[in-house]
């Protein structure tokens, strides 16, 4: 083999390595994130694209969600919109919604309805438009019906408002079906949108 041929081989190898590096850039996951997710019922928050100064624009996409919080006067639910980082899948989205509800409202005059001793163990997006929310509920919690209705309605209505193509939410307590959270609202069957708890 002549020197020239050897040089050509070296060039070809360099091209190969270059091609490999090019192809193996982190691609599939970021591409997936760039696409809108079908289960999100949201308005894209256009202002949320924030390129880092001095670097190539890396879009940290966010979505606008509608959360329900109670008013401090009567306890009726009011919507509040906010932008959150776009979650990676249905489970993460349901968790993000719960966490935002638990975090509470930004608007003055509203109060959060999810007690600290209620946590989300898991959330599933099922076929046929059903969402399952598995809550961990501290056994020492007790509620009156208005408070329990607010909790369940905030969870159910926030879920149905934000997750596309869902009609029902089934709530499990500590991984199992339960009669109710605290003796009132029927959790033995999936719940639809609880309009009665929304402020007129």
């Amino acid at each position: 083999m002549s020197r020239r041929a050897a040089a050509l081989l070296l060039v070809a190898m360099a091209v190969a390595v270059g091609a490999l590096l090019f192809v193996n850039r982190p691609s599939s996951s970021t591409r997936r994130f760039r696409r809108p997710l079908a289960f999100l019922r949201v308005t894209p928050a256009t202002g949320a694209l924030t390129p880092m100064p001095g670097t190539r624009a890396t879009p940290t996409e966010s979505v606008r969600v509608t959360l329900f919080f109670a008013d401090s006067a009567e306890g009726k639910l009011h919507p509040e919109e906010r932008d959150i980082a776009k979650p990676a899948g249905p489970g993460a989205y349901l968790r993000a919604l719960f966490e935002e509800l638990a975090r509470g409202p930004a608007r003055p005059g509203l109060i959060g309805v999810i007690p600290q001793r209620i946590q989300l163990r898991n959330g599933f997006l099922m076929p046929a438009g059903e969402v399952v929310l598995d809550l961990s509920v501290d056994s020492s919690l007790s509620f009156g019906s208005a408070e329990e209705l607010s909790i369940v309605a905030a969870l159910v209505d926030t879920t149905l408002q934000n997750v596309a193509n869902t009609q029902r939410v089934r709530v499990l307590v500590n991984g199992e079906p339960a009669e109710s959270l605290g003796g009132h609202v029927d959790l033995t069957r999936p719940l639809g949108f609880l309009r009665g708890e929304l402020a007129p």
Partner: protein, 517 residues
């Protein structure tokens, strides 16, 4: 020179070609994309492989499933054999029909193709096709064979298990054959009854034969894949139709001459002259209910008021009042309504004290059941399967399946919603007058304790225990007595406006409260 140059060029060309092969080989191995073979019914199908994962779409299509891909999320929806499976990248939970199948590690998307680990195919996909598969790593080959029998290894394509409930709503009887999965069936009217034969599936029967105390249906019998609804007497006819969610076959039995189906249910027969009213003090035992800022517990207030209501009602309406609890005991919500149903009560009054995180919330409100927010399909069932099941509670009609119970219980209260609404209105009006509490009005909510009552049923929130002022009121005997009298007066008013539902009279012997437990 020219010969040497030609040789050099050839050598270089060969090297370049070798390099390109190397490059593509490296590309292939770096992304892990190659193929395996899936053998199914004597045919071989190529299945894309990424690392140790296999293409879900390739395998599903090879088995004959329809595969649709959401172009925005990359989630695959796989349908076939009456089932649906959803494969979404990034999750190790696979929704199969109404179940979640957990796999060892998350599925992933590589260049728009969903890849899943081997156990996805073994646990979720192959059972959907009534098949089992084994992977030979040395040959890079999946061998998929049909499962023995039709059970599909207990996965979704298994036999259909059937529960039975029998409900008589004059003039028809409905036999609900609740299926574990939707299955095709063929109805056949024979002299002795109506046969339902399931096609393509084996049937797991709940019993061989069971007799029922029903005016039209003598028994339900299972033989092989056929259920026979046996008529009690000649001159009856029946029809069968499917309903979904939960999947079930409804056999409607009626008399030939009376054209039974479709007609709305006849109004329930008037209650027996001896009226029973069940009063339910909310919560109890370890379940304190809401607790006020001063430490007052809802379970105590509700019991105190319930005892007063139990004493007050017979002064207005000739009746026997039964308390669901007359001590600090825990009773499930369903047991409270069961008691009312068992007592064939004319009214069910559940008493509660409210709480809210909203500091300003105060006043009284009265609820009756809302079906709107409960499962719309249950409401559909209520519509389709007529409305009333007088005297039927959970457990009657051999309902062993909770879903079936839901339907029956919804049907139960839905027949009384109008009356419940009027009762709620009467109570709320009286509370406003007598106790002078803030009027929050009558409302509807999906409260469990109201769902199964086969009589007019309301839940009264007499005041907010979370409100410091109202907590003080709730402690006072005067306020409690006022509330009790208001409720009793409203009950009297309710029956006065509904003659035929109960006698309105003075004191009656035996009107003392009877503790349930």
């Amino acid at each position: 020179m020219s010969t040497q140059s030609t040789q050099s060029s050839r050598a270089a060309g060969a090297c370049l070609a070798a390099s390109l092969v190397f490059v593509f080989a490296m590309l292939g191995s770096a992304t892990g994309q190659t193929t395996a073979t899936l053998v199914w019914r004597g045919e071989s199908f190529p299945i894309a492989v990424a690392g140790t994962d296999f293409s879900v779409g390739d395998a599903a299509r090879a088995l004959g499933f329809a595969v649709s891909r959401d172009t925005t999320t990359g989630v695959l929806s796989i349908t076939g054999n009456g089932h649906q499976l959803v494969a979404g990248p990034g999750t190790s939970q696979v929704p199969v029909d109404q179940r979640i199948v957990e796999i060892g590690k998350p599925m992933r998307s590589v260049r728009g193709v969903v890849y899943a680990p081997a156990d996805f195919f073994e646990k979720a996909l192959f059972p959907l096709g009534k098949a089992t598969g084994t992977y030979d790593a040395t040959k890079r080959m999946w061998t998929v064979v049909e499962s023995r029998g039709t059970s599909g290894g207990g996965e979704p394509a298994g036999p259909v298990s059937v529960d039975v409930a029998v409900v008589h709503v004059e003039p028809t009887t409905q036999v609900v054959l609740r299926e574990s999965v939707a299955a095709r069936f063929e109805p056949r009217l024979v002299e002795s009854g109506l046969q339902v034969r399931w096609i393509d599936r084996k049937v797991t029967a709940p019993f061989a034969e069971r007799r029922f105390e029903d005016p039209l249906v003598a028994s339900v019998r299972f033989e092989g894949d056929t259920a026979t609804v046996v008529f009690r007497e000649p001159g009856l006819t029946a029809r069968a139709y499917p309903l979904t969610d939960p999947d079930r076959v409804v056999v409607e039995v009626g008399r030939l001459v009376e054209t039974p189906p479709i007609e709305p249910a006849a109004p329930p027969p008037p209650p027996a002259p001896a009226l029973t009213i069940v009063v339910d003090p909310g919560h109890g035992g370890a379940e304190t209910g809401a607790v006020g800022p001063g430490g007052l517990q809802e379970k105590d207030v509700t019991l105190q008021i319930a005892r007063r209501v139990a004493a007050a009602i017979p002064r207005v309406v000739a009746s026997r009042v039964v308390l669901t609890r007359d001590s600090d005991s825990a009773i499930s919500l369903d047991d409270r309504t069961s008691l009312a149903n068992h007592e064939k009560a004319g009214l069910f009054l559940s008493l509660h004290a409210n709480s809210s995180r909203a500091a300003g919330a105060h006043g009284s409100e009265t609820y009756y059941l809302s079906l709107e927010s409960s499962d719309r399909l249950a409401s559909e069932a209520a519509r389709r399967e007529n409305q009333a099941i007088p005297g039927t509670g959970p457990g009657t009609g051999s309902a062993t399946n909770p879903d079936l119970d839901f339907i029956l219980w919804d049907l139960a209260q839905s027949a009384h919603l109008n009356e419940s609404s009027r009762l709620a209105e009467a109570i709320q009006n009286q509370l406003n007058v007598v106790s002078k509490t803030e009027n929050r009005g009558i409302k509807q909510a999906p409260f469990r304790v109201l769902a199964g009552a086969t009589m007019p049923a309301v839940l009264v929130e007499v005041g907010f225990i979370s409100h410091p002022e109202e907590e003080k009121q709730l402690r006072s005997a005067t306020f409690q007595e006022g509330v009790a009298n208001a409720i009793a007066k409203a009950v009297g008013e309710f029956f006065a406006k509904h003659p035929g539902t109960a006698p309105v009279a003075g004191p009656t012997p035996g009107a003392t409260p009877s503790p349930a437990r």
